[in-house]
Amino acid sequence: MSSPPTIRPAGNHSVLIELEGNDAVQRLAAGLEARRGSELEEIVPGHETLLLVWREGAPPIGAIEQLISGAELTAEASAQPAAIELRVRYDGPDLAAVAESCGFSPEELATRHLACRYRVGFIGFSPGFAYLLGGDPALQPPRLAEPRTRVPAGALAIAGPYSAVYPRSSPGGWNLIGSCDEPTFDPAQNPPALLTAGMAVRLVAK
């Protein structure tokens, strides 16, 4: 392993572990998953961090270091993440503008966007909203200057290094380049979210 992770206090019931890159986040999250339970309540991946939330009281720092080194030993086993395909159309209202700002035609943008191998870096913003990493470095438009008050469910969007499918209708500031009919969040399902951190995602043209 590389340099030891930085452990930052996040109140007296949680810590934020800073890691080198999202791959390291996925490895540690996978290694800790078996420890999630009544004491360790939440394991929340971020882009380069993992937040651990305990039920109550101060988690002793020594125990956290033990927890991490124990997790590193078991992480080897968590090799292949699950893979999933999402069928998408490039028909979003921002497609033409994003393509132009990146110097491509809409067709070239779609081809480039489809060619990437994505992985879920983390979930956040709203239930089931998966931040997909692994996008084309030539396709990194900034967020919209003025967020939309309503983005439809299933909108395929990009902002900076991330791509995402909006699980449900919500406000949003990302560039809408397409759409996906696949439901990605359903509270009646178990688990309610289709995508989880670490999962490999392929986009295929519908």
Binding site: R8, P9, A10, G11, N12, H13, S14, V15, L16, A29, R36, E41, E42, I43, V44, P45, G46, H47, E48, T49, L50, L51, V53, E56, G57, F122, I123, G124, F125, S126, P127, G128, F129, Y131, R168, P187, P191, P192, A193, T196, A197
Partner: protein, 285 residues
């Protein structure tokens, strides 16, 4: 026996809350649940419910409720005038309501959120393991509306023989203990001292996701973009404006603004009682 309750007036915002849905933050699902968990648990204990049973969380202006059956209730949380058929009833104790009784809660005088537990617990379809209304994510039952009826589950267990529960009265200017970090190093050297030395005012733009504060700008050292990271309940997030936000029960599970400090777990319930216009202070622990 199940109790039917008719909502005559819903109040400013009355929702169904239990202890929330922990364990799903990695799927972007906030814990949600009562903003003042101790008050919810107390209300439930007073009427013999499991402490995590679903109850009503009333915000600032309380509801008017017509009980169609005999019921046993308890009101906890904020200081508020509560009347049963016009007669004042005590807080923090079990109150018997006769069939046809009208319960009216006024505007809270100290604190923001009152809890009304009804023996049996409020009936609602659990969603992802909880009956809580998560207003950020739109999960759980919708806020109460006039004309609607709600019901309780069948009661289980005994009614405890408790008189009035001893509860510390809410204070005018609460002092919340905070722990520095995780991103205190993104701020200027004096920012933590400024956080602790200043008097903060609660903005009217506050809700179950967060309490927005008005006060001096907390100066940033680093102005680059923070990658999104997991947020703890009670995190004091500082957006570009420099005006902090304390994250409450319905907070987004991840965020991209640096967190200068986090409210200690013992004071999270007090944070859930902060009302617009109120002053508060922080102490670094």
């Amino acid at each position: 026996m199940s109790v039917t309750i008719e909502v005559i007036k819903p109040g400013a915002l009355t929702t169904v809350q239990d202890l929330g849905r922990p364990g799903f933050a990695h799927l972007g699902i906030p814990r949600s649940g009562a903003a003042d968990r101790a008050s919810l648990k107390l209300a439930n204990r007073l009427v013999g419910n499991a402490e995590g049973a679903a109850a009503l969380e009333c915000t600032l202006i309380g509801p008017s409720l017509r009980f169609h059956n005999d019921a046993l209730i308890a009101i906890t949380g904020a200081e508020v005038s509560a009347r049963l058929d016009g007669e004042e009833v005590a807080l923090n104790c079990a109150v018997t309501i006769p069939a046809g009784g009208l319960l009216e809660l006024a505007t809270t005088s100290t604190g923001l959120r009152s809890y009304i537990a009804v023996r049996g617990g409020i009936e609602a379809e659990p969603m992802i393991g909880s009956r809580s209304s998560d207003l950020l994510s739109g999960l759980g039952p919708a806020p109460l509306k006039a004309g609607q009826t709600i019901a309780t589950e069948e009661p289980l267990g005994e009614v405890p023989a408790i008189g009035v529960a001893p509860v510390a009265p809410p204070v005018d200017v609460p002092l919340l203990q905070v722990v520095a970090g995780p991103r205190a190093d993104w701020f200027a050297d004096d920012a933590l001292a400024l956080l602790a030395a200043s008097s903060w005012e609660v903005s009217s733009d506050s809700n179950r996701s967060g309490v927005r504060l008005i006060g001096p700008e907390l100066p940033r050292l680093r102005h680059d973009q923070l990658h999104s990271e997991g947020m703890a309940h009670g995190a004091i997030q500082v957006p570009a404006s420099g005006q902090p936000i304390i994250l409450l029960a319905d907070h987004p599970t991840t965020g991209g603004y640096p967190v200068i400090a986090v409210v200690a777990s013992a004071d999270l319930d007090a944070a859930g009682q902060l009302r617009p216009g109120q002053k508060l202070r922080f102490a670094l622990s």
